[in-house]
Symmetry: C2
Subunit: 266 residues, 2 copies
């Protein structure tokens, strides 16, 4: 079986570091590709260029919105190191650069190697089965992305979706695919930006909050099951907010930390 996410993130190696592919329909929020999906697209090409399977640290700057359509990703291997291969990439879409990325790729290390310190409490959330699935048309805005995913929000954190934002800029939930594709390091990148922004629980009317920069550090290869996710925004000032994500696998292993900085209407 070929899973939807793998089809949607497939790229063709055209040689000389250039990869072609398409922004697929259905992975968008109001017509523009989701930022986590875009990161997975870039990482798909970059890990091929690096010839290493896992994005360990990847940063994107978003330069233009991405409707469905064909793209080229121009990759450059900056350094082929023993531990990491560092790769830069530009996504060209509609005649201009839409995304610039840089990342370090490797094989994600075994979590139980070496020194251990775990100072982030596991996010408390009802079980996957006990949380309500987020649907494509259950909210004010049609969310095509939800047709591809099986995402469950913590019941306390979904007030924004029913016009009752709770004033706490936090969103917790579970991330899985609608077609049960197993999670891996590539899908973890999507999970890191697939949830509704925590700031929605502060806003009277949820609107578009464009991301300027988005970084994900992958800390381990996840187990295949649903990812346990928590997103917090702590500081809003000067028209900008940060959003930090923490992602665990179904066994409670920390698999990624993310941070993005975005714009909020002044």
């Amino acid at each position: 079986m070929t899973f939807a996410f793998d089809l949607a993130t497939a790229v063709t190696d055209d040689g000389n570091g250039v990869y072609s592919g398409a922004v697929h329909d259905g992975w968008d929020i109001r017509g523009n590709a989701n930022g986590g999906y875009v990161m997975a697209l870039l990482a798909s090409a970059m890990r091929s260029a690096a010839n290493r399977p896992d994005p360990i640290s990847i940063t994107l700057h978003y330069l233009a919105p991405l409707p469905p359509g064909d793209f080229e990703i121009h990759t450059q291997v900056i350094k082929q190191g023993r531990r990491f291969t560092t790769v830069s990439a530009s996504m060209m879409f509609g005649g201009r650069e839409a995304v610039r990325a840089i990342g370090a790729f490797s094989e994600a290390p075994a979590v139980d190697d070496g020194m251990q310190h775990h100072g982030i409490p596991l996010c408390e959330i009802p079980s996957f089965e006990e949380c309500m699935r987020r649907t494509e048309n259950g909210e004010a805005v049609p969310l095509a992305l939800m047709s591809k995913l099986d995402m469950r929000l913590h019941p306390d954190d979904r007030g924004f979706a029913i016009g009752q934002p709770n004033g706490i800029p936090r969103v917790r939930g579970w991330f899985a695919f609608a077609d049960n594709r197993p999670n891996d390091t590539l899908s973890t990148l999507l999970a890191a930006d697939a949830f509704p922004p925590p700031v929605f629980n502060l806003l009277a009317v949820p609107g578009w909050v464009p991301t300027v920069e988005f970084t994900v550090h992958v800390r381990a290869v996840p187990a295949p099951g649903p990812l346990r996710c928590e997103f917090n925004t702590k500081e809003i000032q000067g028209g900008m907010f940060e959003e930090d994500g923490i992602i665990w696998d179904e066994n409670g292993v920390l698999v990624a930390q993310s941070r993005q900085i975005g714009l909020i209407p002044l």
Copy 2:
């Protein structure tokens, strides 16, 4: 008066987006330039290329250690937007690329514009005067950088320096320059990596913990006085750790958030 930090971060515009300068002696830890100083060097060239004063979000991947010596920084303006100018940069040193950077530059917004939310408690620390100054030769390792700075550590967090790590991977302190240079957004980048790594308070013997990736988001222009800083490491596994920094100015305004991911001996 010309301050040491300004001399040490000066670059010459050679045209075509190329800037030349030198890694100055005295901004190092054991002979290699401090990562925050290196970020300030890159930002110095990138803000000139962007023709905008403040790094709003900047990410570096460190590819090689940097002893003192001449460099060229090759900048590329990726996008000149209304709100941000996005710039990429490569630092060439000794015939190879030592650093790759990407950043968004602008004028840092007034903090009191628009929506406000402040969810990070101000770091508790004795006053600047009550904290002990970190000296060049007061610890096991000579720290040339401390000759340039007037850094004060929270007394509870400096156990590592006297062979008594307290087991809590947190470092709090004040950042100022020895020559009283006023702080600004460029020096905030240095402050974000000038403190001893919080992991030192977990290690039997503090050693070199190389940074793979380092991102700083500047949230406001600081007041000129000492910066109040807090650094935490929460998760160590698979031979890697993250380190998050929070920086306030002397008035308690949040001026930057940083995150880096680094390697720890397995």
